[in-house]
Amino acid sequence: MNALVVAGVLIVLLGISYQTGWSKSRNLVTADGVKVHSRPQYHGSFTAIWAMIPALVILLLWAWFGGGITHNYTVSQIPQDILVSLDQAGLNGALIRINALASGYGVAGETAPWEQAAGDAVRSFNFLTFAGTLILAVVAGGAGLFYARSQINARLRARNSVERVVNVLLLACSAVAILTTVGIVASLVTEALRFFTFINPIDFFFGTVWAPNNAGGDNHGSYGLLPLLSGTLMITAIAMIVAVPVGLLSAIYLSQYAPKSFRAVAKPLIEILAGIPTIVFGFFALVTVGPFLRDFGNAIGLQISATSALTAGIVMGIMIIPFVSSLSDDIMNQVPRTLRDGAYGLGATQSETIRNVLLPAALPGIVGAFLLAVSRAIGETMIVVLAAGNAPILRGSPFEPVSTITVSIVNQLTGDTDFTGPQSLVGFALGLTLFVVTLCLNIFALYIVRRFREQYE
C-alpha cells in the first residue's frame, strides 16, 4: 500500500516536472537571433532530473534509516519497568504484538493497557513519519523543479547536462559487473576465513579424509579437500576423454568435409546439447546411463556402480561435446587459407592437410578451448550431484562412487542462514577453491586463445 502511494507520487512528480520544463521550453522567446540551444524534450528531462533526484534521495535515506528509527521509537514506548523485565525473546515478542496492534490487525488474548497505548503511539508515529517523509520528498522535488524551471532559457545547455546524467547512469550499470566480482570475492573470502578459524588450512587443503560432523557440537569432523579434488579431477578427465575426440572430429568433419546443407542441419542439432539444462543430463545419467553401465559391467565381469565417476564423467563429456566442437570449429576457421592451399599444392590429401598442417597450426587455440572446457567440467554441479554417488573417499577406480567439490558445496549449504559452524562455512572455502581454480584456467585459456588469434591477424 505504502509502496504504491510512493510510486504514484513519484510518477506524478515525474510527469509534472517533465511537462513543466517542456512547456516552458516551447514558450521560450528567441530574441536577438539567439536560437534555443536544446530541444524541449531535453528541457523536460532536465527539469525531471532536478525534481526526481532530491525526492529519491530523501526516500532512500528514509528507507535506509527509517527501520532503525521506528524500532527505537517502539522500544521507547514500552514502560521502563516492563522493559527491564524482558529478555531478548520477550522484547521481540512484545515488539511483534505492538506492531500488530499498530497495524490494526489485532493480537490474540488480552491486551495490556501499556501495549494498547504503545500500539496507538506507534500507529500515529508510523503515519506521521510516512506522511512527513513523503511531504518532505515532494517539497524537495518541487524545489528542484522550480530551480530547474528558473534556469531554463535559450542559452541553457540542457542537452549536455542530461547527457552527462545518462553517461553516469551507463557507467553505473557497467560497474555492476565489477560489483558482482567484488561481491563474489568478498563473500567467498570472508566466509572462508571464518571457516579457517575453525579448521587449519593445512588440514583442509592436504587432508585426506572428508567426514564433516553435520550434527554440530564441539567435534566438527574432518574436512580434507583431497578426496573431493581427486573425484573432481577423475570425472573431469573422463569427460574430456569423451568430449575431446568426438567434439574435435565432428568439428573437423563439419568445417572441412561436410557439404553446406548437411552442416546447416547438423551444427544446430549438436548445439541443442549445449542448451539442455544440466539437471536433465543428471536425470539421464542417473536413470539410464548408470544402470546401463552397471549391466554392461556385469556382462563383461566388471563391478561398475550405477552411480560412479564413470557415469558422471561420460554424461558430462556428452554435455561438453558442443562446447569443444564449436570452439575448435571457430579456431580452425581462423587458420589462413593459404596454409591449406600450400599443402594441397604439394599433393597432400585432405586428411593429411588437416593432420599435418591445419591441426598443428590451430593447436594453441585448440588447447585454449580444451582448458575452457576443463574449467566448465570442474564447475559443473547437477550431473555430479545426481550421478557421481556422493562418496567422498579417496580412491582410484572410476567404477566406484566418488564425490566432488561442487557436490559437497550443495550438501553442506542447504540454504539455512546459519553460517556459524564449519559445517556450512566449508561451502565457501570449497567455493573459493573452485573459483580460484576455474579463474586461473579461464584467464590462461583466454590468454592462449587471444595470442593465437593475434598470430594470424
Binding site: 547527457e163 555492476v176 563474489i184 568426438v246 542448451g275 539437471i279
Partner: protein, 455 residues
C-alpha cells in the same frame, strides 16, 4: 604425376609407378578412415541427442496419463453431523460470522471423511467382496477426503445427496494399473495388499477406474502426502517470477553497460578491468553465483530464503555477462556509415547511439535476451544454495513468498522415495521444461530472422 619423376637412376619407371600407386592406395585409405571417423563422431553426438530425447519422452509420456476413480459419493447425514452452515444473517458482525464459519469448517475437518470415501468405494465394488478398511482406502489418493470435504464446504446443501465425483487413484494404485511395478513380484515387495490389487483390476474392468489426461500436472502444486496429485503449478509460477525479474533487471543494466563500454568508455585501466571482469564472469561456475546469493542477499541483506526475488537476482547477475557480450557484439557490427551520417547531421554522440545505432541492434539484443533467459531458466545449482530445495506446496503470490522453480522441482522429484511413480513424473517435468526452452529458442530464431529481414 608419377610419370614425371624420372630422374632417379637406380629404379625403372614402372617400379616407381607401382611404388607410388601403392603409397597412394594407402593414403587414400587413410583419407577414407579419417573421413569415416569424422562421420562417426557426428553420428555419436547426434545419437546422444536423439537418445536423450527419446529416453526422456519414453519415460515421461506415461506420466501425462492419470488414473481417475469415478465414485458416487453420498454425503451421509449420519456422518456429517455438525449442524447447518452458519448464515450471515444470524450474526451481528462480520467478525462473529467469520469466527462461526471457521469453527464450522474446523468441525467438518474433524469428521472422518474416510468413511464416506470408503462407503462409495464399497458401493462400486462387487457384492460381498472381502477387503478391509485400510486396504480399500489405499486405492484412492489421500487427498480424496479433502476434495470431498471442500465440495461440501462450498455447497452445504449436498447433505444427504449422492453425487458423482472423480478422485485420483493413489500413486501405488496408478503404478499397478500402468504396470510401473512388476506384477509378478511377491506380496512382500508389493505396495498394495492382494485384495486391493484384485479390486483395482475389477475397477478397471467395470469402468470405475479409467485413465485420462493428467491435467493435475499443470493445475496442482507439489504434494508429498498425496503424490498422485503433485503438479508443477507452484514451480512454474516461481520460475515465471524469476524470469520476470531477470528480464526487468538484466536487460536494461546489461544493454546500458554494453553501450557504455562499447561507445563511451575512454580507454583506461578501469574500463580494461571491467572488460576482463565481464569475460571472466561469463565463465564463473554457476554454483559460485549461488554462494554469492547465499552470503550477500540472504546472510547480509536478510532477504527471505527460497524466494523468487533472491533467485531472480542471482540469475540476473549470471545472465548479465551474456547480454553484455552479445550487445557489444551487435553494437560493434553496426556500420560506421550510419554513425558518421548521424554525427554529420549534427547529432550528439548520445543521440547517435540512442536514436540511430541502438535501434539497428534491436534484433540481436532481443535474441540474446531470450537465449540468456532460456539459459537461466534451466539453471539449478545456484537455486539450491539459496534454499529453494525446500518443499513448497503453494503458488507464490509475490516474489517474496517461498517458491520452487521448474528445475528444482525436477531435482526434488527425482529424489522422491516412490521411484516407480516419480520417475515418470520427473521425466514429464523435464518435458515441460524442455518444451518451454524450445519454445523460447524457437521464438528467438523466428524473431531474429523476421526482424533482420526488415532491417
Amino acid at each position: 604425376m608419377a610419370t614425371d619423376i624420372q630422374t632417379s637412376p637406380d629404379k625403372s619407371s614402372s617400379e616407381r609407378t607401382a611404388l607410388i600407386r601403392a603409397g597412394l592406395r594407402r593414403r587414400h585409405l587413410n583419407e577414407q578412415i579419417f573421413r569415416g571417423l569424422g562421420i562417426a563422431a557426428i553420428a555419436i553426438a547426434l545419437g546422444f541427442v536423439a537418445l536423450l530425447f527419446a529416453d526422456v519422452f519414453r519415460k515421461g509420456i506415461p506420466a501425462f496419463v492419470q488414473s481417475n476413480v469415478h465414485l458416487s459419493v453420498t454425503f451421509d447425514a449420519e456422518v456429517i453431523d455438525v449442524g447447518p452452515a452458519p448464515a450471515r444473517g444470524d450474526f451481528a458482525s462480520d467478525a462473529e460470522y467469520t469466527a462461526a464459519s471457521l469453527k464450522w469448517q474446523r468441525d467438518l475437518a474433524l469428521l472422518n471423511w474416510n468413511t464416506i470415501v470408503e462407503a462409495s468405494l464399497r458401493k462400486a465394488a462387487p457384492e460381498g467382496f472381502e477387503i478391509d478398511s485400510r486396504q480399500i482406502q489405499s486405492i484412492p489418493e489421500t487427498n480424496a477426503r479433502h476434495q470431498i470435504r471442500e465440495m461440501f464446504v462450498r455447497d452445504p446443501s449436498l447433505l444427504g445427496q449422492t453425487v458423482e465425483v472423480d478422485v485420483l487413484a493413489s500413486a501405488n494404485a496408478a503404478n499397478w494399473i500402468k504396470g510401473n511395478i512388476n506384477r509378478d513380484l511377491g506380496d512382500a515387495q508389493q505396495q498394495l495388499s492382494p485384495p486391493a490389487r484384485q479390486l483395482i483390476d475389477i475397477f478397471v474392468e467395470n469402468g470405475t477406474i479409467s485413465n485420462g489426461f493428467a491435467w493435475s500436472i499443470f493445475t496442482n502444486v507439489d504434494s508429498r502426502a498425496a503424490p498422485a496429485s503433485a503438479g508443477l503449478l507452484g514451480a512454474f509460477v516461481g520460475t515465471l517470477w524469476m524470469m520476470l525479474i531477470v528480464v526487468v533487471l538484466a536487460v536494461p543494466i546489461g544493454v546500458a553497460a554494453a553501450i557504455y563500454l562499447e561507445e563511451f568508455a575512454p580507454k583506461s585501466r578501469l574500463t580494461d578491468l571491467i572488460e576482463v571482469n565481464i569475460n571472466n564472469l561469463a565463465a564463473v561456475p554457476s554454483i559460485v553465483f549461488g554462494l554469492l546469493g547465499a552470503a550477500v542477499f540472504i546472510n547480509w541483506f536478510h532477504l527471505p530464503i527460497s524466494a523468487p526475488l533472491v533467485g531472480g537476482l542471482v540469475l540476473t547477475l549470471m545472465t548479465l555477462p551474456t547480454i553484455i557480450i552479445a550487445t557489444r557484439g551487435a553494437l560493434m557490427g553496426v556500420s560506421p556509415a550510419l554513425r558518421q551520417a548521424a554525427l554529420g547531421m549534427g547529432a550528439s554522440k548520445t543521440q547517435m547511439v540512442f536514436h540511430h545505432v541502438l535501434p539497428v541492434t534491436f534484433p540481436s539484443i532481443l535474441t540474446a535476451t531470450i537465449l540468456g533467459v532460456a539459459h537461466a531458466l534451466g539453471e539449478t545449482a545456484p537455486l539450491l544454495l539459496i534454499g529453494m530445495k525446500a518443499f513448497v506446496a503453494s503458488v507464490p503470490a509475490t516474489p517474496l513468498d517461498q517458491a520452487a522453480a521448474l528445475p528444482v522441482q525436477i531435482y526434488l522429484w527425482q529424489g522422491n522415495e516412490n521411484r516407480n511413480f516419480f520417475e515418470p513424473r520427473t521425466a514429464a517435468a523435464i518435458m515441460v521444461l524442455l518444451a518451454v526452452m524450445i519454445l523460447l529458442n524457437g521464438v528467438a530464431i523466428y524473431l531474429r530472422s523476421r526482424l533482420e529481414k526488415r532491417a
